[in-house]
Structures are given as structure tokens and as C-alpha cells.
């Protein structure tokens, strides 16, 4: 292929207002939030949720309860 396709610059999702912003932004131009801080908070919430789900699944398995029964 002599001429590659154009790959447009990807955008970043602001975890404060859920608007997409340009990747070079530090603060969201729409809600003013600090993008890195908001992302870190979001990542932690997701990790906590996954951890809680795993613990629940283990507890259910120990009690002999399947996902379907739950």
C-alpha cells in the first residue's frame, strides 16, 4: 500500500462531564476538572467495584450458590 490511510488524533474522555477532549488538555475545557485526577478517581472506583464483585463471587462459591441462583 503506497499511501496509508489517515488516522485521526484520538480524543480523551473526561470522567467528570463525559465529554471528549483533545489529548493535550490538562483541564477539561467543558467542566474545568483536572483530567488526570478524574481519571485516577475513576480507575480506583472501577478497581474497587471489580474487587467487590470478585469477593462476592468467592463468597457465593463458598456458600454453594451459583450466579444463576443468585
Amino acid at each position: 500500500m503506497a499511501e496509508p490511510g489517515r488516522v485521526p488524533p484520538p480524543l480523551r474522555l473526561c470522567r467528570g462531564c463525559r465529554q471528549f477532549v483533545r489529548p493535550d488538555e490538562e483541564a477539561c475545557p467543558f467542566c474545568g476538572g483536572d483530567l488526570d485526577t478524574l481519571q485516577a478517581d475513576y480507575d480506583k472506583r472501577v478497581a474497587d467495584m471489580l474487587h467487590a464483585a470478585a469477593e462476592l463471587r468467592e463468597a457465593m462459591a463458598r456458600a454453594g450458590v451459583t450466579d444463576r441462583e443468585a
Binding site: 500500500m1 490511510g5 489517515r6 488516522v7 485521526p8 488524533p9 480524543l11 474522555l13 483533545r22
Partner: protein, 408 residues
């Protein structure tokens, strides 16, 4: 610049590798212009077959050429594809070449026998067009009873185990009925729902009363986000077409395939999308008019056109300097590049400035303004033609009708 394809991704989803390598992931092929409906918004003004449609031998050879380019999915459209006598030969050839094959249809005469034979030929899925409830659909499609026939066809497709989709154009009449349409198609067994904004091309250019106005994108996007979430919970996957958008707080929700960071990346015409007309004309997108045609398969090999024809290369060669109007200075210009080329060209006569945009309407609204499209010249009456439109910028508040400015 490489990525692994995830099995959960739809076949038609184009990734970064596809973009870089310009793989025509999705090929939309109008195999005949013959049609059994009379749709008020038909871009190709279908009805009678073209005089010079490809022969069976030419069509089967074209299938091989498409496969050589690495295409993954061919959508057969019309007109009404099943009115072509050899359509199942084409379906079987596509499947034998290792590609997925879908039929996009109005479903009026998609009989039990036709569905059974199509399934036996290897058809992967069917998308049925439904543009409203009952009389709304019948009026837009030009045939009384076509709504019930479409729903019956959808049930038939589902019963034969084919993937069942619905295509809906969002227009002035269907917009208030979208929720009701969703209920009806879930009930009839649809698992995918593709939604596109009605575009002012072909017959649609003759029906300005059907077209949405730009400010209505402020209503469309939150509604689609709501329906996307609800649909997913009920087993219906909402797929916005390339002319639905762009950005704002609803972009992530409506385009969330596997993660919420997926967003609109600009027009894919001639990059990962190819359109083919029934006479063998090759275009960068099925809806675009003749200036975007790269040639005809009867005169030139497909690979040669795909790799070298200038009219197919406009997306990869353009820059922000090719944009104009609001889009030229938009915050998202470099990524969006004025959205859907088909929509922009049909309204503005050339690409690069697209008023059908949520972000644009929202920016206008923040200033107390809105844009209104006014037709100033009719379309000529041929396939894929368009009229001329002006954008009137006016006060957003009702009761203030005086135009503030007009630009084209």
C-alpha cells in the same frame, strides 16, 4: 500502531490497523436499482433497474476482487436486492470467499421461501428498514401495509436463525416515534438497530418537510443515548451511522461498543468503506454522488481504483484547510473533519461543513442561536442528486423569526 482484534467486536468495526492499511472492511453494494417500494427519501431514486447493471459473471468476478482487498463484510442493497434473479448466487459467492454477507431490505416481499433460500445460500443477516409506526412508515415507504410486512419479514428472518437488524432513518416524522419503534422491533426479534439521520439526497431532497433541522440534534443525541442504554438492557444493540453525532456528553454512550472511550473518528469513505453501484461504478461511500466515483469495474481493476483513484482518496488527503464554515474552527476539527461527507455534500454542495451536528447546535444554543436550513434550489431528479440549501442563523427562542445572518 497495531492492535489485536477482539472477537467481541462486530465484523464491520474498523480498527486502527484497518485505517492505516485502508482495508475496505465494509462494502455496500447496490446490486440492482429495481425496487418494490417507493420511498420518499431514497437517495438513489430506485424503482426500475439500471439499463447496464452488471451481469452475473461480472458480479461474481467482482466478489473475488473485493475479497482480494481483505473486505470482511458485504452488505447487499438496492433498490431491492432480492429482485435480482441471481442474488443468491452472489450471496453464495461472497460466503465462499470468506466474507460475511448481509441483505439490507425494505422487506415488502421477503417471503418465507426467499428467507429460507437465502439462509441456505449462506446469508449471514438481514437488516430491515423501518422508519416509523404503521401509517408513518407506510407513508414514507410509499406502500400501504409495508410496516406490517416489514415486521413480518423481521420475524421470519429471526425464525431462520439469521442475525436480525433494523435500519431506521431519523426524520421529522420518525423522531417522535423512536421509542415506540424500539419496542416494536425488540418484540419482533431484532438484536441490532442502526440509526441514520435522513440525508437530503435523491427523493429526500424533494421532501424538506421530512428533514431534521440542525437544532434538533439537541433532541436526537440525548434520546439516542437513553435508548442505547435501555436497548442494551433489553438485548438490542444500537448502532449510530456515521452521520449521527457529534461529541457532547452523549457521544460515549451511543458509540460504546466495548468500552466507553470509543468516539467518532471522521468519515471513513474510501478508507474502510466502499460503495458499489449496480452498473459497476466504484465509490468511496454508497450514498455519495458521482464526483466521488473512482471509475467502473468494467474499465479498471478494483484494486487499482481503491489504491490510486483520486476521487476515492479525499478523506486521507484532506486537511483542516479543506474545512469551512463552523467546522473550520471547531474544537474537534482535526478528529471529526466535518463529520459525514454524504450529509455535508447533500446539504452544502461540497464537503467540509456539516450543520447536522450536536456539538455545533449546542455551541449555537449557548449563544441563544440556532441554524435553520432553507432549500433554495430543487434537485434535478436523478440518482444521488441534491438541491441547494442555505443556513439561516436565527434566535433560538421561539417567536423571534427574523434571520440574523445567512451563510451558505
Amino acid at each position: 500502531m497495531t492492535e489485536q482484534r477482539t472477537e467481541a467486536l462486530p465484523v464491520r468495526y474498523a480498527g486502527i490497523d484497518d485505517l492505516v492499511n485502508r482495508v475496505p472492511v465494509s462494502v455496500v453494494w447496490e446490486i440492482t436499482l429495481a425496487c418494490d417500494l417507493a420511498c420518499q427519501h431514497c437517495g438513489s431514486r430506485a424503482g426500475r433497474r439500471r439499463r447496464d447493471e452488471l451481469s452475473t459473471a461480472e458480479a461474481l468476478d467482482l466478489v473475488e476482487q473485493i475479497a482480494e482487498l481483505g473486505a470482511r463484510d458485504i452488505g447487499l442493497i438496492g433498490g431491492e436486492a432480492y429482485l435480482r434473479k441471481d442474488w443468491l448466487e452472489i450471496v453464495a459467492a461472497i460466503r465462499a470467499a470468506g466474507m460475511r454477507c448481509d441483505l439490507q431490505t425494505g422487506g415488502r416481499n421477503l417471503s418465507e421461501e426467499r428467507v429460507a433460500r437465502a439462509a441456505a445460500a449462506g446469508l449471514s443477516g438481514v437488516g430491515i428498514s423501518i422508519d416509523g409506526i404503521g401509517a408513518t412508515h407506510d407513508g414514507i415507504r410509499g406502500v400501504p401495509g409495508s410496516f406490517e410486512l416489514a415486521l413480518a419479514a423481521l420475524r421470519r428472518v429471526r425464525a431462520h436463525g439469521l442475525s436480525s437488524s433494523v435500519n431506521t432513518t431519523i426524520n421529522a416524522r420518525s423522531l417522535p416515534q423512536l421509542r415506540e419503534i424500539m419496542d416494536a422491533i425488540i418484540d419482533a426479534g431484532a438484536t441490532n438497530w442502526q440509526l441514520a439521520i435522513m440525508t437530503a439526497m435523491g427523493n429526500a431532497a424533494d421532501h424538506p418537510e421530512l428533514l431534521l433541522q440542525p437544532w434538533q440534534m439537541l433532541e436526537v443525541m440525548p434520546l439516542l443515548a437513553e435508548l442505547a442504554v435501555e436497548g442494551r438492557e433489553r438485548g438490542l444493540f444500537l448502532q449510530p451511522a456515521s452521520n449521527v453525532g457529534y461529541y457532547g456528553p452523549y457521544e460515549s454512550t451511543i458509540r460504546n461498543i466495548i468500552d466507553d472511550e470509543i468516539h467518532f473518528r471522521g468519515c471513513n469513505a474510501g478508507e474502510t468503506v466502499m460503495g458499489i453501484e449496480a452498473d459497476g461504478t466504484i465509490k468511496s461511500c454508497p450514498g455519495l454522488p458521482s464526483p466521488y466515483a473512482g471509475g467502473n469495474i468494467r474499465q479498471r481493476r478494483l484494486r487499482d481504483m481503491w489504491e490510486n483513484a483520486d476521487p476515492l482518496a479525499f478523506v486521507r488527503r484532506r486537511t483542516i484547510d479543506d474545512l469551512w464554515g463552523f467546522c473550520r474552527t471547531c474544537y474537534y476539527a482535526e478528529t471529526c473533519m466535518a463529520g459525514c461527507t454524504w450529509t455535508a455534500h447533500a446539504l452544502m454542495g461540497r464537503a467540509g461543513n456539516n450543520p447536522m451536528c450536536y456539538h455545533r447546535a449546542n455551541e449555537m444554543d449557548r449563544k441563544g442561536l440556532r441554524e435553520r436550513l432553507v432549500k433554495i434550489k430543487d434537485a434535478g431528479g436523478k440518482s444521488f442528486d441534491h438541491g441547494e440549501w442555505e443556513i439561516v442563523v436565527e434566535a433560538a427562542a421561539p417567536g423571534v423569526p427574523d434571520p440574523i445572518s445567512i451563510h451558505g
